[in-house]
């Protein structure tokens, strides 16, 4: 590690710390129905939306209605996106003439689920498959509204703690509209113009044909990138306009835009911890969540960065410089951009998987084993390290419920959290949500590794499930494990060497994304409803304080033990064993011998 590399990480974290309170305070006021400085401009538009949609602003919903509204909205989100993709050939803003041939029904299914669930897993290359209209009116719209839906669910869960003896937890349509109009849209306008000033493109031109200095022809992709880029980061969506995502110079042209992009990923997730504290009228409770997240973020980045800076010993033995000098970055530069260097890449990889973003500025598949372990581990914590917008907070609150339950078991008292008794129903729901994603990841990965399909057939033309891999040995296992982890946790980044545009992968990854999203949201809303109906319990001498370092430690331990250690055996066979083999200089050739047990 270099001191200037560490400085970049520290400055980034300082900036996040700095905006947590103002951002959180704004959201707290907004979702409690108070006027903000944006109301003079946006309030008329907000009322117009309610009128058009037949929403009555003051009607409160029980948790079941709130969940029904979430599902209804998500259903139409899926249908709109699917239709746009399949009909792109008949629609305008399509200078490259992409059509239905660029996306078969199973591929469009996968992508529509992917964007509706805030995952943005991509089997396609944006510049070679999707029209400007699909990107702008399909994907970018989902980037806004799937984020706002996650935000709404988090706010509903917080209301569960705030309210007592209440039947209702708010109104989904109102929360969705306010999140989009007052939080996401204004920040996106500012961010898009900032990115554009740095060189992120924003136009509707056909691709430019250039004649290079050596006389060759180069076709340069264009498009309305900046407006989508900003919400892709801010909303922790992560679906790149281009295949190379934020490593593409038109998405992130310089190290400053790189900093802006990682900053955008964290600000709402960090702000929401303050929103939580402010809404429950004890900001220390919010800061406890913040610091639990911060500890895990810093631990992750300071494993990934040194691992990448140490680089690949196999290359070092061939005479490639591995130490950083004043004129070159050293380390593992495969799949990394010169302008970002090792520190800027490792930071991005950590942040994008702490949150459920999934944008990448470097190719995780080419990371060293330990450098690639960090993103995988981060996702397997259920992305509660600042996390997806809304999803990070409601995920962490479920862990907090499990945490106080475990502490309650140790001292033999009924656990309490934020003035509410935590009982059987809450604990069951929280554990169900946490275990559901683990189940999806391990079961889908296991089946795919063992699956044997007819070569050239419909389900998976390459043949066996492992014939789609770009790497052999333990790294191949990591590719499959990473794919189902990313889908089930709604992240969207990839060990992208794996070929996933076959019906088998499209279907199973699509289902993993769908269940991963809603088997978390519905239990979270059920807990919200249950908590809201409970009486307020005043703090007593026997109440575990949930705002100090002890609770931060308890929470971190709960996340690691309950969430991530489930995956230790799988990780041991993937990145951990690869680490030791790499240091021995062992290489693997991609010769596929499929398991004969499943055909």
């Amino acid at each position: 590690m270099t001191s200037i590399g560490i400085l970049q990480i520290v400055v980034f974290f300082g900036l996040v710390l700095l905006v947590t309170k103002p951002v959180g305070l704004f959201m707290s006021r907004l979702f409690q129905g108070q006027r903000t400085f944006l109301h003079p401009v946006l309030r008329p538009l907000e009322r117009l939306i309610y009128r058009l949609c037949g929403v009555s602003e003051d009607r409160e919903q029980r948790w079941t209605q709130y969940a029904a509204s979430t599902l209804s909205f998500s259903l139409f989100a899926f249908l709109f996106t699917y239709a746009l993709i399949r009909l792109q050939g008949l629609l305008p803003l399509n200078p490259q003439g992409f059509g239905a041939a660029q996306a078969s029904p199973d591929q469009a299914f996968n992508t529509a689920i992917s964007f509706m669930t805030n995952t943005n897993w991509q089997w396609y290359s944006g510049e070679a498959a999707m029209s400007y209209l699909v990107q702008m009116a399909g994907f970018a719209v989902q980037n806004f509204v799937s984020t706002a839906a996650g935000l709404a669910v988090a706010i509903a869960l917080v209301r569960g703690f705030v309210r007592h003896e209440s039947e209702t937890i708010g109104n989904f349509w109102v929360d969705l509209t306010r999140g989009t109009l007052y939080v996401l849209l204004p920040l996106s306008v500012v961010g898009a113009l900032l990115l554009c000033s740095q060189g992120v493109i924003q136009n509707f031109e056909p691709y430019t044909v250039a004649t290079t200095l050596e006389g060759a022809t180069q076709t340069i992709a264009q498009g309305p990138v900046a407006s989508q880029e900003v919400i892709k980061q801010l909303g922790t969506n992560g679906g790149g306009f281009f295949n190379a995502n934020s490593s593409h110079p038109f998405e992130s042209p310089n190290p400053f835009t790189n900093l802006v992009q990682v900053f955008l990923i964290f600000i709402l997730g960090a702000g929401l911890t303050y929103t939580f504290g402010h809404m429950v009228k004890d900001t220390r409770q919010g800061w406890a969540l913040f610091w639990a997240m911060a500890v895990m973020f810093l631990a992750g980045v300071f494993v990934a960065y040194p691992a990448e800076q140490a680089g690949n010993p196999i290359l070092a033995n061939l005479g490639v410089e591995s130490a950083a000098t004043a004129t070159q970055s050293g380390g593992n530069m495969e799949g990394k951009e010169c302008r970002f260097g090792i520190s800027g890449s490792a930071l991005f990889a950590t942040v994008t998987t702490d949150a459920s973003c999934g944008a990448v500025n470097s190719m995780h598949d080419s990371y060293t084993p330990l450098g690639g372990l960090v993103p995988m581990f981060n996702m397997q914590t259920d992305e509660v390290i600042f996390g997806g917008v809304g999803a990070g907070l409601y995920g962490m609150l479920l862990y907090a419920i499990v945490g106080v339950f475990i502490a309650g078991l140790m001292v033999g008292r009924t656990p309490e959290y934020i003035g509410k008794k935590i009982q059987q129903k809450e604990v069951k729901m929280a554990l169900f949500a946490i275990l559901a994603t683990s189940f999806l990841i391990l079961v889908f990965s296991g089946i795919t590794i063992a699956a044997n399909f007819e070569k050239g057939g419909y389900w998976n033309a390459p043949g066996a499930g492992i014939a789609n891999l770009n790497n052999a040995g333990p790294h191949g296992l990591s590719e499959i494990l990473y794919a189902y982890t990313s889908a089930s946790e709604n992240n969207g980044s990839a060990f992208a060497g794996i070929t996933v545009n076959t019906p088998w992968y499209d279907l199973t990854l699509g289902l993993a994304m769908l269940f991963g999203r809603f088997l978390f949201i519905i239990p979270a809303l059920a807990i919200a409803g249950s908590l809201a109906s409970k009486k307020f319990v005043p703090t007593s001498a026997g109440t575990l304080p949930t705002h100090g370092p002890l609770f931060v430690g308890l929470l971190v331990a709960t996340v690691i033990v309950v969430g991530a250690l489930t995956f230790f055996p799988a990780l041991a066979l993937g990145p951990i064993v690869e680490h030791f083999l790499m240091h021995q200089g062992t290489l693997f050739s991609t010769v596929v011998t499929s398991f004969p047990i499943w055909s």
Binding site: V141, I201, A216, Q328, G335, C338, L581, L587
Partner: protein, 245 residues
């Protein structure tokens, strides 16, 4: 549930109009007025023809030009197919390279691999090296390296070719970037190429080295990212100052 369908449909429609049409149109309108050059791709135009984008790398193979990093985007620096190699650190293909049979059944290079890239880099730039057998064994009739034979030698299970530069090679010089469109190389990489470019243009290495220093971009705000040299900008500047005779 059924009565939730109408607001679901209408809300999706309204949000599509606001965030999917009005918002991007608004951003485009402002961007095209305030930042037209950036919004259209930072294109470099010379005598009415677009020669590329300042932000997008392009292929250079002639000795009088600085060369970019290896690229996994299509056939190399293809902006319609941005991509990294996605090869992991223990991939035999990544390190040793692979060959394939072409249409005529002749063995040709499929993927060059780190080892063959190091050989090319050393030979092109005059970087001293030690090789277990003379490289002449891998040259064709014209004296060019035959990559297929080179890769086969690296993959030989019994006595693989060993090749070691005596000066360390900058890691960006032999690795593919994430986008396949990386417009930059490290200053160290440019420094090792300077003598070759100078010789091809008949000027002194010091003059070219001076151009490299002039074209090196520092870190953003003094501490973000890494210093880097924009290959296209450097080659354009050299073309202007020291035109090839």
């Amino acid at each position: 549930m059924l009565k939730e369908l109408r607001p679901g449909f209408m809300m999706m429609l309204v949000m599509t109009v606001i965030t999917g049409m009005i918002y991007p149109a608004f951003i485009t309108a402002i961007a095209q007025v305030v930042f037209p050059a950036q919004a259209n791709g930072s294109l470099i135009v010379s005598n009415g023809t677009v020669i590329g984008s300042r932000l997008i790398g392009q292929n250079f193979s002639r000795p009088e030009y600085f060369h970019p990093r290896p690229s996994a985007a299509g056939g190399g620096y293809d902006p319609t197919a941005s991509a990294g190699s996605n090869l992991g650190p223990t991939s035999a293909k990544y390190i040793n390279g692979t060959t394939k049979k072409d249409d005529q059944g002749k063995e040709v290079a499929d993927f060059l691999g780190i080892k063959a890239r190091i050989v090319h880099y050393c030979v092109e730039n005059g970087v001293p090296f030690e090789s277990s057998v003379s490289l002449d064994r891998f040259k064709d009739g014209d004296g060019n390296l035959d990559d297929a034979r080179l890769i086969a030698a690296f993959n030989d299970p019994a006595t693989p070719l060993t090749f070691l530069p005596t000066t360390a090679i900058p890691s960006d010089a032999v690795t593919a970037s994430a986008s396949g469109l990386d417009p930059h190389i490290s200053p160290a990489n440019a420094g090792l190429q300077a003598a070759r470019v100078a010789a091809a243009r008949g000027v002194s290495a010091a003059q070219i080295q001076e151009m490299v220093v002039m074209q090196t971009e520092g870190r953003s705000l003094g501490f973000l990212g890494e210093p880097a040299v924009n290959v296209l900008a450097l080659n354009l500047a050299i073309d202007e100052r020291f035109p090839k005779k």
